[in-house]
């Protein structure tokens, strides 16, 4: 049965499909709808627990703790919220708690422009917490894909034993589309970790060896631990090399865009090839190299000042052209004129 | 674990904070040459064991103690 759903609703339904049993959150546009749905769902389903926390810090910590306690958990927020949640994101990677953080991006920094859409939290979700860690992040561009990728995010979390980020933007969160959820087939990865109360383990954010003994001055143990973390995350990321490639014959220019921007520029596919990374981080290095090889020009169109463009340059060792859509201004004509300007004389 | 007259003293756990020495109501414990030693006169009140934060001192059961 087809139903009219917003991106936020699809994300929530996807989480329930994936088996989520805990939601903690704090009101923030544009993801407050997820919080509201979770509260209503918890009233009707006692096995689903809900917490409206006192701040995003508490929401994130509660999400990870609930995951350690043995249930699939998730939280949803926006850019300023994810800033507060960085502490918990880092902690979640060290204590190996599978969960999902939904980040619907709006214009920043700080409070920024509530609620204008942006795509400017890429650097923040990649490394906002202290130290090295390798988060996995997905970014859908439709309501139907929001549902599917939420399940994928939960699965990747269970496999990589870490918080996984599901990105969205203010457009996508409030975008209504007709979708038939029953027709979407998804596989759900079950929980493998032993819950709390079944051993004598220590889940600590401090560096520790495999037995859980705190080791704060042993570089060898730390390197081994980090190598294992990195290997596991890259291996899981490798399972989800998600992207969309729309080639256009004779096109000499490849446009790279993701999320809502890729929807906005889709009319341009008559003239340009379009590459849409869905797994935002770890960066699709191999795929980017393959796809960009045959094009003279590469233009990254994104809702920030060149965050993904920078990653692309690192991956393909070539200069790319940038079209930053800042301040929530995503207009096709404007983007088109910017592309023409960039390509003039080249 | 080093046995004294009435107490067992764990020299590895002990950090020489001398709490046991100071809480002993009859003053039979003392720290000498970095070791807890015991003079005769223990009244087996268990204060040293109860206050030790390092679980480093135990009062021996009646049967095990060395005759003074």
């Amino acid at each position: 049965m087809k139903q009219l759903l917003s991106g936020n609703e699809a994300i929530f339904k996807g989480a329930i499909k994936a088996g989520a049993r805990y939601f903690a959150g704090y009101p923030i546009s544009p993801t407050s709808e997820i919080l509201q749905q979770a509260s209503l769902y918890a009233e009707e389903n006692p096995e689903f627990r809900f917490l409206q926390a006192e701040d995003e810090i508490a929401a994130a910590i509660a999400t990870i703790s609930a995951s350690l306690a043995g249930v699939k958990a998730f939280t949803a927020t926006s850019g300023p919220g994810i800033t507060l949640m960085q502490e918990a994101l880092g902690w979640g990677h060290v204590v190996e708690a599978p969960c999902v953080f939904v980040n619907s991006m709006r214009v920043g920094p700080s409070t920024g422009m509530p609620t204008q859409p942006a795509q400017s939290d890429l650097l923040q979700i990649k490394g906002g917490s202290a130290g090295d860690y390798y988060p996995i992040a997905f970014y859908p561009n439709s309501v139907e894909e929001s549902f599917r990728l939420t399940v994928t995010a939960f699965n990747a979390g269970e496999e990589s034993l870490s918080p996984v980020l599901l990105l969205a933007d203010a457009f996508l969160s409030h975008l209504y589309e007709l979708v038939d959820l029953d027709a979407i087939e998804v596989t759900v990865v079950p929980r493998t970790q032993e819950p709390l109360g079944s051993g004598q383990r220590l889940f600590t954010g401090t560096a520790h060896d495999k037995l859980g003994n705190v080791k704060t001055n042993d570089p060898v143990i730390y390197r081994e631990w980090l190598a294992e973390l990195r290997e596991r995350h890259l291996r899981v990321a490798e399972k989800y090399p998600l992207y969309e490639y729309l080639p256009c014959k004779k096109a000499e220019t490849l446009l790279i865009a993701f999320g809502i921007t890729s929807r906005i520029i889709s009319p341009l596919r008559e003239r340009f090839s379009i590459f849409r990374p869905i797994r935002i981080y770890p960066v699709l290095e191999r795929e980017l190299k393959e796809m960009t090889e045959s094009y003279r020009h590469i233009i990254v169109i994104e809702g920030n000042d060149g965050q993904y463009a920078g990653w692309t340059e690192c991956a393909i060792h070539r200069q790319v052209l940038r079209v930053p859509c800042l301040g929530g201004g995503f207009k096709l004509q404007w983007i088109q004129s910017q592309i023409e300007e960039r390509l003039k004389g080249r | 674990m080093k046995p004294r007259l009435n107490v067992l003293w764990n020299e590895i756990f002990c950090k020489r904070c001398v709490l046991c020495v100071e809480v002993c109501p009859v003053g039979v414990l003392s720290l000498e040459r970095d070791e807890i030693v015991e003079k005769p006169g223990c009244i087996r009140c268990y204060q040293c064991e109860r206050y030790c934060p390092d679980i480093a001192i135990e009062v021996m059961d009646e049967g095990n103690r060395l005759s003074s």
């Binding site: 049993r21 006192e54 910590i61 509660a62 709390l196 109360g197 889940f203 | 904070c17 709490l19």
Partner: protein, 346 residues
């Protein structure tokens, strides 16, 4: 003969533990282990949650699953664990800086939500791990390394903060008053709801020596001078009292919505308004705002909802609003507050 079976709950192979000679945390750890043993709790049904700081290391020495959270967040984590796993006994072992300073917001809100967890706060009135900086509970005038001329500000009085909103369980004790300490632990573990034990503890190396104490025992004597035990269960504890403050939930009188009836005014005596006349009183150009309701004309000029540019769009001044108020989400009682200035012509 003394019962030493509490040692089963401690990871004795990791001893000697990491704290300084004479530190009160060792005593807290030992006595809490004794308390858990008395309750018959073990790794199958108990989880320890601890924060950061010297006291945060307590979790690692317990033979149960322990969660070592980021700084200040143990309460949130404990609440989430208890929410999704009501079968587990959740015990928080942490310090005053962690719970009352960086985690102060979480302390207030976790206490408000009253989950069934037990908190043991090692209150040594100093930041010990980082070298002896002034903390939230450092008494005024105390010299620390960040208050070299004496602390300027008042300490946070947890005994008052945590006993403002029933239900509550707050116990204050010291590591010196051992029997009282054990009683508090026992009562707190048995209490159903949020129970907080404030354990005045000694930090001899990084606080006591600066204050002029030579050994931990001298600090104990100082505690004995500062505090005295009060018998029985109190409603509140004074700053120098050790004891248990406990109160059942208040049965607050239900808030009654009072519909104030306006005294009947004889309509005949009032100035008659036609609808056209009424329409001129719409608040424009400094004119008053009149509305009609059930045959009477009210002066709403002082209503905040009709002020300025952002006045409420749904009701406009200068109109008969009888029907609109009938369908509005609020009742007519809002209107009765305002003065009657006339009647509507038939």
């Amino acid at each position: 003969m003394i019962d030493r079976s509490y040692k089963d709950l401690l990871k004795m192979r990791r001893f000697p533990h990491t704290w300084c000679p004479g530190c009160g945390i060792g005593a807290v750890l030992k006595n809490v282990a004794m308390g858990l043993r008395e309750m018959g709790w073990d790794y199958r049904n108990t989880v320890i949650v601890s924060g950061i700081g010297c006291s945060g290391r307590m979790g690692g020495y317990m033979n149960v699953d322990a969660v070592h959270t980021p700084h200040g967040r143990p309460l949130t984590a404990a609440e989430a664990i208890k929410t999704v796993r009501p079968d587990l006994n959740v015990v928080v072992l942490s310090g005053d800086g962690d719970l009352a300073s960086i985690g102060g917001n979480h302390l207030l809100h976790t206490a408000r939500r009253n989950p069934d967890i037990t908190v043991f706060c090692n209150d040594n009135e100093i930041y010990g791990l980082t070298g002896g900086q002034a903390g939230p509970t450092t008494p005024k005038g105390t010299k620390t390394i960040t208050s070299p001329r004496g602390e300027h500000y008042q300490p946070l009085r947890l005994n008052r903060i945590l006993t403002t909103q029933a239900p509550y369980f707050y116990a204050k004790t010291t590591v010196y008053h051992l029997n009282h300490f054990k009683t508090c632990i026992h009562e707190a573990l048995r209490y159903k709801g949020f129970s907080f034990v404030d354990i005045i503890s000694d930090c001899i190396e990084l606080n006591g020596r600066r204050l002029g104490f030579k050994t931990a025992h001298q600090m104990f004597k100082w505690f004995d001078q500062r505090f005295h035990i009060v018998e029985g269960v109190r409603d509140h504890l004074k700053d120098d009292e050790l004891g248990i403050a406990m109160k059942e939930a208040d049965t607050l009188p239900k808030v009654k919505v009072e519909v104030s009836e306006k005294p009947e005014v004889s309509l005949k005596d009032l100035k008659p308004f036609s609808l056209e006349e009424l329409a001129s009183f719409d608040g424009q150009d400094g004119k008053p705002i009149y509305i009609g309701y059930q045959g009477k004309v009210y002066d709403l000029s002082t209503s905040p909802l009709f002020q300025g540019e952002k006045r409420m769009r749904c009701h406009l001044g200068g109109k008969d609003l009888t029907q609109e108020i009938g369908i509005a989400p609020h009742g007519e009682e809002l209107i009765f507050k305002f003065p009657i200035v006339g009647r509507l012509k038939e």
